[in-house]
Point group: C2
Chain length 305, copies 2
């Protein structure tokens, strides 16, 4: 297919904008992948300039990848799933963006993850990565659970696991509790056995920095560390509670997504585990589905584009 | 006593530099209060310029209060207890300050609190305010416990209580647990029953903002709320663990300091409570004691002034 023919058809851009990366895919109306792009953070919480730069950068890459001129941007029907836009103020800030696209349809990163995971069908997703949250979509109803942010929300997430680990280790360094394997592992990981250095390492640390410690908890638990095992059970309990809440609206299937998902899965309740299926497509493909659905319904409902 | 006579004697300035306020007292060699000053944050973690401005501002006030010219600064023997200087990097940064005093003797805010509380005698202090930490000073030995920062340290502190409250309430709003009195109280406090608003209120919140919620937990516990009671018992358990660790070096007395101290005290173990005495003098007076002791020993040990 030549570039000239391609640009006659509607073109869809799907954006998965997270706290650390922005992934986009460029697709035809009949679901053919034309190009891809990857750039930096695209979470409105990090500031609008950074986000829009990330989005435009990744979009430029995808157009170049497809052999299309940058001017094609004005013809793109765009679906964007962005972390943070579940907060009304960020949704508003972002909605006011003077974007260069034909239209921009905005939803949460969680929603596009669910749409992608179930190929546009109803279902539920539970993300257990740096953060934790879940969404179920059944018969037009969306139920979103958790994902309120660290440290007050995101229970059972990687950041949560890292925080529990650090709290325990600092208590052991102060001799308030007995040291366990966790103390030894953290000291090796951070190459320090000095309490003040361990603590100051995490002063103003991001959730991502806490989440990097999470695998240590699972490793220690597997090696029989009792404190680590307690943390794992408590964390998995949080994730299980989110899953059980999602199941109240009876999704047919549940996808677990995120770096810790496969570590937490064995600890979930049987009723939850029996609904687990592997995700079908990544979130940026879900964003394309969303753009297609939203632009179709926008004609009827008069949504601002 | 005239100003001329006063300035012939050594003059001591005691500084209590915390995260939100800087208090100073100006005293004679024979412990007479000449002047006082109060200014903004004096925690090196907030940046050196802000800290030094706060210190010089409060010092200027104390000199004016005493009817002494600003040039007297060059004659002051200064003791400063600053939050954060227990971290070596901040101790070094602060030690390098080209201060305008005759000499500056630096230690932690916790240390001067202990010296002041026990009027220069051995003893222990346990701070339970926005943060939590303890220090025991016995026969020249200093044992410092906790105070590593929020959210990974400062267990049982006001910030910790506020965080537990918020975590519970967000879980109840997500229908992961049943709502309790805490949910109702937080919604009234923040004038919102919207989950996203409650969560976004605490995005990037300071420990102080979390600590403001702490009294709600105690109020709910007193009214019989089971979840609140569990949080209080867990928090008091953390404070009790710090106290029991301090008692291992056998201080003769323990002072509880900070806005939550009197709320936590009833929940502490009998062995801890029987050592509790009211603090004798505030931290800035302890800083004067420290300056006096340190300047006396500096002559012998050759400490840089």
């Amino acid at each position: 297919m030549s570039t000239e023919v391609r640009t006659q058809q509607p073109l869809y851009l799907g954006i998965d904008g997270g706290g650390s990366k922005c992934r986009v895919v460029l697709m035809t109306a009949d679901n053919q992948l034309l190009g891809e792009g990857l750039s930096g953070p695209a979470n409105p919480l990090r500031g609008m300039q950074l986000v829009t730069e990330s989005i435009l950068d990744a979009t430029g890459q995808a157009l170049a990848d497809a052999g299309l001129p940058r001017s094609t941007m004005a013809k793109l029907v765009v679906g964007a799933g962005l972390a943070g836009v579940n907060l009304p103020e960020y949704f508003q800030i972002f909605s006011a963006w003077q974007h260069p696209f034909a239209s921009l349809h905005l939803t949460s990163d969680l929603h596009i993850a669910c749409i992608g995971a179930h190929q546009g069908q109803d279902g539920a997703v539970l993300i257990c990565g740096t953060g934790s949250c879940g969404l179920a979509a059944v018969n037009g109803r969306l139920l979103e659970v958790g994902g309120h942010g660290f440290p007050y929300g995101d229970n059972g997430s990687g950041a949560w696991f890292g925080l529990q680990l650090l709290q325990q280790v600092l208590c052991s360094k102060d001799q308030l509790i007995a040291p366990t394997l966790l103390t030894e592992m953290l000291q090796i990981e951070l190459q320090s056995n000095d309490t003040l250095q361990l603590a100051s390492h995490f002063m103003n640390a991001s959730p991502t920095e806490y989440a990097r410690l999470a695998p240590l908890v699972f490793t220690a638990a597997e090696q029989g560390d009792v404190v680590a095992r307690q943390i794992v059970e408590q964390g998995a309990g949080h994730i299980n509670a989110i899953a059980e809440r999602l199941l109240t609206i009876q999704p047919a299937a549940l996808c677990l997504i995120g770096g810790l998902a496969y570590k937490v899965e064995p600890y979930l309740a049987p009723a939850v585990r029996q609904l687990v299926v592997p995700p079908s497509q990544p979130p940026e493909y879900g964003a394309v589905w969303f753009a297609r659905q939203a632009s179709a319904s926008a004609v009827e409902t008069g949504t601002t584009e």
